[in-house]
Symmetry: D2
Subunit: 473 residues, 4 copies
Amino acid sequence: MSNVNVLSKRYATKEMNEIFSEKGRILSERELWITVLKAQQALGVDIPEKAIQAYEEAKDRIDLNLIHEIEERTRHDVKARIEAFNLETGGFQLIHRGLTSRDLTDNVEQIQMLHAARMIFNKYIAILDKFSAKAKQYDNIITTARTHRQAAQPTVLGRRFAMWAEELYSSLIEFETFIDSYPLRGMKGPVGTQVDLLHLLGTPAQVAKFDKGISQALGFDRVLVAPGQIYPRSLDYKLASHLAFLSSACENFAKNMRLMSGHELVTEGFQEGQVGSSAMPHKMNTRSTERISGFATLLKMYADGASRLSGDQWEEGDVSCSVVRRVSIPNMFYVSDGLCETMLTVLKEMGVYHNTIQAEVDRYLPFMASTELLTQAIARGLGREQAHSIIRKYATAEALKLRKEATSKNTLAEQLGADPEFPLSTVEIIDILANREQFIGNAKRQIERVTKQIEPLLQKYNEARLYDPQPIL
Amino acid sequence: MSNVNVLSKRYATKEMNEIFSEKGRILSERELWITVLKAQQALGVDIPEKAIQAYEEAKDRIDLNLIHEIEERTRHDVKARIEAFNLETGGFQLIHRGLTSRDLTDNVEQIQMLHAARMIFNKYIAILDKFSAKAKQYDNIITTARTHRQAAQPTVLGRRFAMWAEELYSSLIEFETFIDSYPLRGMKGPVGTQVDLLHLLGTPAQVAKFDKGISQALGFDRVLVAPGQIYPRSLDYKLASHLAFLSSACENFAKNMRLMSGHELVTEGFQEGQVGSSAMPHKMNTRSTERISGFATLLKMYADGASRLSGDQWEEGDVSCSVVRRVSIPNMFYVSDGLCETMLTVLKEMGVYHNTIQAEVDRYLPFMASTELLTQAIARGLGREQAHSIIRKYATAEALKLRKEATSKNTLAEQLGADPEFPLSTVEIIDILANREQFIGNAKRQIERVTKQIEPLLQKYNEARLYDPQPIL
Amino acid sequence: MSNVNVLSKRYATKEMNEIFSEKGRILSERELWITVLKAQQALGVDIPEKAIQAYEEAKDRIDLNLIHEIEERTRHDVKARIEAFNLETGGFQLIHRGLTSRDLTDNVEQIQMLHAARMIFNKYIAILDKFSAKAKQYDNIITTARTHRQAAQPTVLGRRFAMWAEELYSSLIEFETFIDSYPLRGMKGPVGTQVDLLHLLGTPAQVAKFDKGISQALGFDRVLVAPGQIYPRSLDYKLASHLAFLSSACENFAKNMRLMSGHELVTEGFQEGQVGSSAMPHKMNTRSTERISGFATLLKMYADGASRLSGDQWEEGDVSCSVVRRVSIPNMFYVSDGLCETMLTVLKEMGVYHNTIQAEVDRYLPFMASTELLTQAIARGLGREQAHSIIRKYATAEALKLRKEATSKNTLAEQLGADPEFPLSTVEIIDILANREQFIGNAKRQIERVTKQIEPLLQKYNEARLYDPQPIL
Amino acid sequence: MSNVNVLSKRYATKEMNEIFSEKGRILSERELWITVLKAQQALGVDIPEKAIQAYEEAKDRIDLNLIHEIEERTRHDVKARIEAFNLETGGFQLIHRGLTSRDLTDNVEQIQMLHAARMIFNKYIAILDKFSAKAKQYDNIITTARTHRQAAQPTVLGRRFAMWAEELYSSLIEFETFIDSYPLRGMKGPVGTQVDLLHLLGTPAQVAKFDKGISQALGFDRVLVAPGQIYPRSLDYKLASHLAFLSSACENFAKNMRLMSGHELVTEGFQEGQVGSSAMPHKMNTRSTERISGFATLLKMYADGASRLSGDQWEEGDVSCSVVRRVSIPNMFYVSDGLCETMLTVLKEMGVYHNTIQAEVDRYLPFMASTELLTQAIARGLGREQAHSIIRKYATAEALKLRKEATSKNTLAEQLGADPEFPLSTVEIIDILANREQFIGNAKRQIERVTKQIEPLLQKYNEARLYDPQPIL
């Protein structure tokens, strides 16, 4: 009896699940074996062409029942998969020669990881594209920027998306480099010295050619030279960490959607379950962005797990890392996949409440304009200290009043204007406040610069940016 | 050249710093040595009474310069401290007999930890006391309870404090048990077998008496029987985890103060720096509660660090844990200390804006009352499905309207009352809404029950509950 | 498409899997609903006896296909399970009245956790029993105790098991307390105030009786008073941490089996895969103890994940914790289950190589006896400083010689005995070395004391201690 | 009262401590202010040349007492440091114009981090250099490679250093890229929009020039475009993770030194404290490599802490990250510094016991040669299955015998040779075993390739590679 993997079932897409399914793994194994056969043949090992053809043809015929049957009998999983593949070819027995278990397992897992990493990279490209689009779409919505959760200065809503876009962009550039130089462990034998391959292929040059050739055929530009039985587990730690780094901008997005939602400034969507529940029809819950927060938590957790294996290789290696990797590796990709799908859905379905955003700005603008009022008052001849002191007095009082009286009407302009010592009249102050654009500084230009900066990356992955999410739970 | 410990300097109190200061540590060592001397004397080892007196008198004369001088010369820190103590007695050379370094270091660190743990326990008692007081103080302030950050049902503000009180209470009860049964490593020699003590004291019974006697004299009810050179590091992991568990209710408090503050429902205080900054005089920043969040993060980080030592003892032990413990142990107490002081300050200085809280309830009450409206409509003969459908229609529309029009006036009562199919008139609905007490369920009674439940613990530590925080940064 | 949970499939037992299976969960739900029905009936809600009977009878008839079908149609999982259960009774529609989703989900998960925690507790009792048995069984095998991986003093092999037993014992005592006072969230409604139950049942006293009654019927002595929509997530953090604490003694055991195995002192078993591989028939791999190390790593990882939810409850709660809990909760129990089964298997199958252990002691004994030689030399009139200096000179030289000449023969006795300044002859020294018992101090008595101390706990769970592990991979 | 930072005091070098000292921080601040002044002047702000000169001259005159005095009076740390700097110039008041606190703090911390990161990068270059040198130095020492702690196949000792070198090399290449593209937060004002700078400097182009100019002057090639009040904390998480990644090869080295030391194959040095303790003069403790393990643990802990801030930015930011960063940032560099110094010391002082290494190979070679014996037996006409079965029988028996009889003499050659069914005589087998080079496969060539691959990086940092460690504790 065994239970389903909840991440696989509820959140990961079919495509991601295929990579880490039993069949997906066996397929990767068979591709590895065939690649090895071809490389051995090319280096003079006696392997008939028709054998390779037979393996190629049999590759997709994966009979799980047969494999399980043999495994039951032989009590050895790798052997069972070798025998089953041989049987499918009608009896060739040529695969896995000169290899040990780890030549298979570590390398196959790396193939899976590379495929999965590329898939995730592409989905983040689509997220980056949407961040960029939203930044531009909302570049005119003047919004209250908050620090310490308090209204601080005006900004535009799109600028927040530019902020997240820039954060994600950095992580993606780094992840691209990481993937492109991700090295295969390669064919190294039980302790890494390639002794059996050397006997099989005859010369070091042949072995080097073989090892390099296979990794390139499998899509790896680099192959490690001197790993032990296993590749250094810091490589897994790095990969897990990259997945966590990538999620950071999304976690920031999600938390801020949740915060803004509580102020009724935005909604993550109008779907069933997001607008109203049966008992509380008015509620517009932030279920998807909460889930994104949860996904991000899991990714950091898997990075923590991977950190515990890094630097813990005893001599040439053992299997103390095994169960941890069996758990973390597929799951950190399922989580990333679910996170990306959810992000793309929210970015597609989210909505903005312009009027509540504007009402919030209205409420706080007199406060947020205080630096400008100070400047203008000084320009009219008031001493800096005195100007500061007057503004401070009224602003503090008004801020308290707004809370104590629970009114939505900010009367700072009226108060200040009425004070004979303050050189600006209420009308003049209101006039200053009316020109809202002056308060947002470079916000719009920053959006332009960020979106322009990331455009080349998006264009490089032109297809990926258009990815449309699959339905989520 | 060396830099100050920022946690020690900025956040920890003098009392906590004393425990982990160089002098504090040396004092604990000397107490241990004297305790050992007395126990050895009692068991027949030839130690003159006046020697013990001399050590007792010299105990507080800690000349750090002298110690550093000897250490420079001998290149051995423990020896330096032995020699300095001996010198202070005018030349007795009786301490540390039959002991190894670890008999000193592990035990002294445990003495420090026990003292520090008791200090922290007491401060959390004071926090619990304030949570309890606040729960009662605010038991009449009807407040919008939120789930998914959306208004859900009315509650009272004091109930949130009861919720945090109950969470903290559980952790404190568990911590009390942990401290009370916290075992000393004891006098065990270099690999734990007590072989040297056995030779010194003659019989196993004598050794057992010695070991037990010392731990009791030092305030430990339990002493380990069969540790190696070191006590199991899971003990540190547990202690670090308890400190993190304790912080959880406070972190919840802090995050919710920050959230509520953003809605202008509460303030963490009216101190300089909390009301206004020079550039933004209106801002009431949540600096202290943000800091509490930071402290809680650190405690989980130290628990993570401690977890990495747990279960990693090679044979009878070594010093691979040493630098980690040197860092984590004092610092997790400094952090806890800073967290407690900050919590107590906020709990003392915080304020509530009754009118904004009430305005928020006004805005959402028609929604939050929908279940009651449904019940009453059914009582008037409307079918459940139909009643539900009508309410749902108006509630959803009104919820959207509030956002789209950015109005603060909820007109659900008017809308529903005007619908001829709905059996309640607007006046009747408003009447229902007026009786707000009916919507808060057991909130007040839950406050009563929680505060009553925790009272015996508070009374048990009657002095601790009255602790007043020291000024914080 | 979805993939199987590897922990569930490869490592967890059928019994543990049942708890967290879809059927297991539904069964717990149904038990909760029936318990609620009975409690409501007892409090005067009109629920016919035969309805309860019908639900009781239908309880085990779980038609997953039907449930999935309804869920497909209604797009609501809880509703589907309600409807299916109702259908199985022939049409009663009485369950889930006055409850919200969280009244179901949080409580059901806690029921699962409590059952799983008890199961794990029991298995650790069996491990403790075996540690105790091994401690006694090996109390006569004099062994080289090592610190910093260097031979330090003699001990007995059984003492290491006593050390792990004592560590595990502490954690088990604490876990027992934790489980016994583990509180149910209880029936609290959407924000915790029980408002709907109050309307349904009429009086606070009735609600309190209802809530308490249900938790007791479900096996919980405590029920929380004032949680929000969710119980505080520090409770999950504590549970996850306890599971990690428990693993620490086992991880220490596992690492030391691996270390000792490398010196050929012990083997974890003689099973296929443990004695020899096809390519390297001589190898006795420590696969199972390596896996135990991996399991312990995972438990700390899940504790890290749980720590990230603790103290992160926004207002009355949301689902940002959901996906993290869906992952961590079952898996931390699968891992614990796998760890226990593997531990029990190794403890059953392990073996000791007496002669290699003795050879190691022979090699190092002259070094390890140096304190005794010093004492005796002084007794013969040699000055302490001089005695020390002579021993030091020869011991250091011999230690280097053993390494440089790679000989197994330690000649310290011969060297020392031949030095005219040293008052003991070689024959006398060899005589001293021959009495090995004197070098192990209290080791045996410590074993006695530890095993005696833990016996009452083992007897309290007399059945659990006899648990025999199931076959492992 | 405040205690010293133990990492700063015991393990970090003077140079690293200077960066994070109070003076070091103030110096960085002053450099920032002067850079800002110059940039403002260049953009037309009226700042007299002699003012800049005055600030330049005053830069190094840091009077901590004065600063503390002012801080005491004003209760504002930044203001105190501004005033003190102004005072040192004889009264100019031009610094910090148009800046907010965060323009100072975040940027200054990034300057510190960049300097510290470069320092650490350089020290790891020196470690890489030593790994490379050791790999070549030991390329002729045939050694027992172990998997699962069991003897598996021969290798050469230098290959392990090549393995660690290759691991470190990858991390260094990645760290170099990270540092080179590490972006400054830049001058952005309180919410990131640069509104105050825009008013001060007049045009967006001027502001952009200002921002970019300052970052370049401070040594940063990149400057962020659209951060909030703070730069995204994922940047800290990445930096902390890189420091942990870098430590992984060293942790592997350290653990393997400890393991090998337990088999008396190597020593980490012959210093006082490493050869012998007073009670146990023969012990050669692995104190330094144990400490390296501890340092690596701390680095992962700080990465865990940093992960908790990543993705947790609420709106434009707050100080909930502050205390965590105050702790983690300097300390993760102190730890890295201590780790590097200790590594370099061990790599300088370590020693190898050739004869024990050879004795170990002698003991296991007959087992490790079994594949070759199989091949040769088949070449003589024995069936594969039968050959395998015979070898397996004797190898397993001999492996058990070695353990059971605790002999160091492996008689597999004798046993096999004496079996009439086995086609090779004992003499022939011994002959095969004599040619040890054939068993190490590509080990030496792998060393060559790794050392050749990393040479360009070492040459690029030619000075850094020669760094000689300072004395350690």
